[in-house]
């Protein structure tokens, strides 16, 4: 990691920026409005190689034939490129099935997280004076102090007994595991929505459900994005729960399927890297296409 070794020059340049960065969100005028620190730009570009190099390496490896990998560093770009690796990895990992399984877990976890946490947060925030709801909040929060390794062994026995040793069970745990954090994010946001908005709707005869569905939930949109992003990434990339919970290997998710290439006698690296790349591609593509949106969503979670 080269990033860590230059605190001084970076800090040196950080201070004057404040003049521009204090004004909110005008990236365009920033770009023209200040004198660019080229030296620091170069340093940051160099540092970003620590991120790009492993990614380049993954792509290069995925395009090599076993012969091209040989005993080299693996850093050279393959010539000719071996596109068949992807087809072979597609078959070897049964990619469509793993992809569907991962997508199933992810989509339901995101929807479940959005629905459950926003409902709970709304009910708690609007009845804060009531002991039951305040108690529920403390109860949900207390779960944050329980590390996952503590419950995992009994949990797996329990889900197996219930026939939930499949992707559906993983969905349950993704939703419930994230509920403390997500409810917390939502509650702060619900409090900022004026009660008067609801009251006028209630005058017109709307029930609490209708108020939530028609008024509150749409207003929660920015927080929905934040919770959705966290749930999506957490669920798509999770390894621990699917690995431990899903009994049928045919239903395993993408990250767990990659364990296939870790066998003692399996040294087919070109196949392995093609498969890694295919497993990483969906989140990477989504992120690059929607990066501004994703980052602002995550940022909102960080500030809370």
């Amino acid at each position: 990691m080269t990033v860590s070794t230059h605190p001084e020059p970076i800090t040196g340049a950080a201070a004057p920026t404040r003049i521009t960065s204090g004004t909110p969100r005008n990236r365009k005028s920033n770009r023209e409005g200040f004198k660019v620190n080229w030296w620091l730009t170069g340093l940051m570009l160099a540092a970003s190689l620590t991120i790009l190099l492993p990614l380049y390496f993954t792509v290069a490896m995925a395009l090599k034939s076993p012969d091209q990998i040989g005993t080299g560093t693996g850093l050279a770009w393959p010539n000719p490129m071996n596109w068949e690796n992807f087809a072979a990895a597609y078959v070897a990992t049964n990619f469509p099935r793993a992809f569907m399984s991962t997508a199933f877990v992810t989509v339901l976890s995101v929807l479940g997280s959005l629905a459950c946490s926003s409902l709970v947060a709304y009910a708690i925030a609007r009845n804060w004076n009531h002991r039951f709801f305040r108690g529920s909040f403390v109860y949900l929060l207390s779960a944050m102090f329980i590390p996952f390794p503590v419950i995992i062994l009994p949990l797996i026995k329990q889900t197996a007994l219930l026939g939930l040793d499949n992707p559906a069970g993983v969905v349950f745990l993704h939703v419930l595991g994230g509920i403390s954090f997500n409810t917390l994010l939502y509650i702060a946001f619900v409090r900022s929505i004026p009660v008067e908005l609801e009251e006028s709707a209630r005058m017109d005869g709307a029930t609490t459900w209708q108020v939530f569905r028609k008024i509150i939930f749409p207003l929660l949109a920015p927080m929905n994005a934040t919770v959705g992003i966290f749930a999506f990434l957490g669920s798509w990339n999770d390894f621990l729960l699917p690995q431990m919970m899903i009994a049928d290997p045919a239903l395993q998710t993408l990250p767990v399927v990659q364990m296939l290439f870790q066998g003692e006698f399996n040294t087919n690296y070109s196949l392995a890297f093609a498969s890694y790349l295919m497993a990483m591609a969906p989140t990477l593509v989504v992120y690059i296409l929607a990066q501004r949106w994703v980052l602002s969503g995550v940022m909102r979670g960080a500030v809370k």
């Binding site: 004057p16 404040r18 003049i19 944050m144 102090f145 419930l176």
Partner: protein
């Protein structure tokens, strides 16, 4: 990031918020009668599932830690025998030492790296959006797959390069070296975790008003001095959050170790979490449950100490 670390992450920000809006004791009786039952329907089913899937397993685990259950077959109560044995078990002790040394080192490195990146991204650089995009890529990738990629880099690419340039100490894979393997795990964990911390630091840096720096400029403070005397104290709250969240998350590291060393060589890089998980297949279910309970008590103790420190120093977000 796994759910665990994410759940652990915001324990603290909440603490600051809840008391402010709580009006202790008021209205509890008055409002009880006129609450719309719909609100109960919104909360109770979720609470029920939560109790069943999160709280119940924790209690069952504590129960079985007092037995000699192997994960199958018969069992009987053996009191605190598991706990006594754990304190005599050098393998368990080693996993705790490894886990804590690893978590401490990683927390320090992650925060230094993340703060440096955040300062760089917040500075007057060209192509800021593009560079920022690149730096946050690790956040969206699976830690396990990233570890597999680095596994090859550490065990094949690095030795070949080292040999080519005559750096013989690095000519063998550091993953196979009992004393160095943990460094590889730190490197990958930093690679993976730095973006999350960077985001929090960026939020902190953007919350500092520019007037503060203008004043410092007028007073003739150099940029390094400004960083030490202004930036650092002003973002201290964010630093504390990062340290707390990070440390807690790194204590539970699992995927990256699985992808790099699998706990080896020998048991040199086996974390507490890995040992506990081994109880599932290793036939020492109740023993590892006792280990899990101890692990829980230790993390709880750390949380309490951290909370105390925060309160005493008056750091708030």
């Amino acid at each position: 990031m796994t759910i665990t670390s994410r759940v652990a992450q915001t324990a603290r920000p909440a603490e600051g918020k809840t008391p402010t809006s709580a009006s202790p004791g008021t209205g509890a009786f008055r409002s009880k009668s006129k609450i719309d039952p719909t609100y109960y329907w919104m909360v109770v089913p979720v609470l029920g599932l939560f109790a069943f899937f999160i709280t119940l397993p924790a209690l069952v685990g504590v129960f079985f830690s007092l037995t000699n259950y192997a994960g199958y077959g018969d069992w009987k109560f053996i009191g605190l025998m598991n706990y006594v044995n754990i304190f005599k078990d050098p393998a368990v002790l080693q996993s705790y030492i490894f886990t804590f040394v690893f978590a401490l080192t990683t927390t320090v490195v992650v925060n230094v790296v993340a703060l440096a990146i955040a300062l760089g991204l917040n500075a007057k650089i060209k192509w800021r959006t593009g560079i920022r995009t690149v730096f946050f890529i690790p956040m969206v990738l699976s830690a396990l797959i990233v570890s597999f990629v680095f596994n090859y880099l550490f065990s094949n690419t690095l030795p070949v390069l080292a040999e080519r340039y005559g750096m013989t100490p690095l000519a063998t894979s550091i993953l196979a070296n009992e004393n160095l393997a943990w460094i590889a795990i730190v490197v990958v964990t930093v690679w993976q975790a730095a973006p999350g911390a960077t985001i929090i630091y960026l939020a902190g840096l953007q919350s500092v008003p520019s007037e503060v720096y203008e004043a410092a400029d007028l007073d003739g403070a150099g940029s390094f001095r400004q960083f030490l005397s202004l930036t650092l104290p002003l973002i201290l709250g964010y630093l504390v959050i990062n340290v707390i969240l990070g440390f807690k998350g790194f204590l539970g590291t699992y995927e990256i170790i699985v992808g790099l060393t699998g706990g080896g060589p020998g048991m040199a890089t086996q974390s507490v979490a890995m040992r506990i998980f081994s109880g599932f297949t290793g036939g020492d279910y109740s023993y590892q449950m006792a280990n899990a309970v101890i692990y829980f008590l230790i993390t709880l103790l750390i949380s309490v100490i951290q909370l105390r420190l925060i309160q005493r120093r008056g750091v708030s977000l």
